[in-house]
Structure formats: C-alpha cells, structure tokens
Symmetry: C7
Subunit: 75 residues, 7 copies
C-alpha cells in the first residue's frame, strides 16, 4: 500500500486541478490550484467566489492568505 | 504499562482509521486519517462534512488547515 | 517546602488522572490525561464531551489541539 | 507547460497592476500593488476603500498589515 | 529606588500569593500562583472560578493556557 | 522608474508625516508617525482617536501594538 | 531634530509615568508603567480598571499580557 505521508503531499497531488477552498469567512473559492507554500498561502487560477451554493464573482488569478483557509477539497 | 508519550503518537495510531475532526466553525469532518504534520494540518480520505448530526456533503480527499481544528477522535 | 516550578510539571503530575479540559468554544472534555506537549496539544483517554453540566457524547481517545484549551483541572 | 511555482511569484507578477485586496473586516481596497513581503504586508498606491460595491474613500498610498488580508485578485 | 525591571519579575514576586487571573472569556480565576512560564502558562493552587463577582466552582490545582489570560493582579 | 521595494520602505517615507491608522476595533488614530518596527508596533505623536468621522479624544504620544492595525494611510 | 527611533523607546520614556492602557476587551487600565518587554507584556503599579469613563476597580500591581493591548498613551 502506498500512502500519502505528509499533508502537503496531498496538496501537491491537487496541483493543476480544480479545487474548492473553504474560507473562515464562510465564502468558498473554486479554481485551479497553481501554487501553495508551507503557510498554505495559495494561488488559484480562474478563481470564482461562491456563497451558499451560488457563484458571486469571477476573480481571475487569486492569491489567498493561508491563515484564512479552513480546508481544500476537489471541486 | 505502556503509555502514549506524546500527543502526535496518538494521532499516528489513528492513521488509516476513520476519525471525526471537529472544527472551530462548528462543522465536523469524518474521514480516513491519511496524514498530519506538527501544525496538525491533516488529510482525510473520503471525507464527509457533517453539521448537527446530519451529513451535508461528500468532499473526497480533503486537506484541513491545522489551526481550524478543535479535536480529533475515533468515528 | 517543595514547589512546582514550571507549569508543565503540574500537567505532568496529572498524567494518568482524570481531568477536565475547558475549551474556548465553551465545551468541556473530561478524560484521562495520557499525553501533552509544549503547545498543550493533549490526548485524553475515554474522553467525554460535556456542555452546561450535561454529558453530550462519549468520544474515546481524543486528540485536542492546544490552542483551543483554556484550562485543565482535576475532574 | 510553465507553472507559477510559489504563491509569492503570483503576487510578484501583479506588482504595478491594479488589484483588489479583500480584508477580514469585509472591506475591499483597490489600488496599484507597489510592494509586499513574506507576511503579505502590502503597499497599494492610489488606494480606494470599497464596501458592498461602493467606493467609500480615497486613501492614497496605503500600507496594509498582512494578517488582515483574505485574498488579492486582479481589479 | 529599586524598580521591577521586567514584567516576569513582577509575576515572580507574586509566586505563592493569592492572585486574580482575568481570562479573555470574561471569567476570573482566583488561586495561589504556583508557577508560570514565558508564554504566561500559569498554575494556580486551590483555584476558584468566579463570574460577575460570584464564585461558581472550586477547581483545585489548575493549569491555565497563557494565551487566554488578560491580566494577573493581587487577590 | 523608481519603485518602493518593500512595504516598510513606504512606512519609512511616511515618518514624520500625519497618518491615519485604522484599527481592527473600528477606531481610527490620527497622528504624526514617529516610529514603527517589523511587528508594525507604531508610535504616533499628537495622536487623536476618531470614530465614525468624529474626533473622540486627544491621546498625546501613543504606542500602538502592531497586531491591532489594519492599515496606515496619509491623513 | 532628535527623533524617537523605535517604538519601544517611546514606551521606555513613559516608564515610571501614569499611562492609559487600552485593551481589546474595551476596558482601560490606568497605572504607573513599571515594566514591559518585547511582547508588550506590561506591569502597571497602582492600576485601576476603567470602563466607559468610570473607575470600576483598584487592582494594585498588575501584569497585563501584551497580546490583549491595543495602545498605551499618557494618562
């Protein structure tokens, strides 16, 4: 059995894929995961802002400060 | 008597098992604990989001930022 | 007179004993203190979640992230 | 394929361009991105404060403390 | 004139004495100051929990996580 | 074109000038920027406290803890 | 012109003088500044707790945890 060993490995496997980023302020960002660092600062390409299941805005390439993030999952 | 010595040892023993992760925003995540690090950044496989005893969403493999976590217990 | 010198010494003396852990979210956890580290990340065995003097859930062996803890006292 | 490797690279590419900075207090700042550092402390030239889609104030060259920032996207 | 030079010196002079510890959650703890460290993690012996001038509970020897503390003054 | 390279350079250029400091608690301080450090701890001379466009108090030379600051802009 | 260079120099000049310490919880402490450190942990002698312009309590020599402080100004 091959296992993901470290949390950032899992993020690395999501690179280039479409992800949902849940923020502490209850908003969701959906975009292509382009980059992240150890603080979980994250860059999403073609990002969209969603709230309560509704798309609010297209944001373009967006930098997200890591400490505002709750979780990152596949879109 | 054998004792768990350090808190991360206990998490390590939960690796590969189904756990409940309680978040500061009152949500619960239930999934298979795949990975964690010293910040308690955590990866859950086949994660589900629960709120007030009700399953809200299936999330897939999910990265959870450690500073949003209150506790991790067996599911 | 023998004095506890450092706060973690007091926690160490509580190891293996039943403690109450008060959380910032107003919940209480009661369990056997198995392990802790310098961040006050803590593991409780046979943990129970209490709220307003009422037991809500049995949690089993539970990892608690240190930054959610207000205080730890004897149960 | 050329990829942005690190989140701060994406911010660097936005240098000199007009950006929206979303703050934790729900305000938006719009300005020319002049400078930033690893804490995401940021300087915007010709900054404006917006709230709910309405421009509230012109601020001039503004220093923003990084820990108040949620995200930075193109204006 | 002899002056206290560093804040922790003042805490050190309160060691063994009865103190009031004000917490961010508005509760007060009153107890004998047994130990503290540079994070202001604190141990109180014979601690009591007070709220709005009323004693709520006797806690025994209590470990208080430093980041929940507002101030410490003589009881 | 000469560009400000680092955020603290911009603050340095504001030294000795009248600035508005916006705080997380919604208050504004207006004063002459005398000093700051890497935490953005800041000293304002002849500081005034403003709330909702109204001057509340004259504070004199005031030390502001950096982590309470949202932004600093010209007054 | 002689200028205060660093924020802590300004605090140092206030040592032994009566100051107002504004806290994040909206309370004010007034006392003689006896000591402070780089975290802005502060000791006030003959401290008083004020709220909305009214003196609530005399506290005596009081240790204030730095991260609860908004600003320090002359009393």
């Amino acid at each position: 059995m091959v296992e993901t060993e470290r949390p950032l490995d899992a993020l690395n496997q999501a690179r280039g894929k479409r992800v949902i980023v849940e923020l502490k302020n209850k908003l969701q960002l959906i975009g292509n995961l382009k980059a992240f660092d150890i603080h979980i600062n994250t860059v999403l390409a073609e990002a969209e802002e969603w709230e309560n299941g509704e798309m609010k805005r297209k944001l373009g390439t967006t930098f997200v400060r890591g400490d505002t993030i709750v979780l990152i999952s596949p879109a």
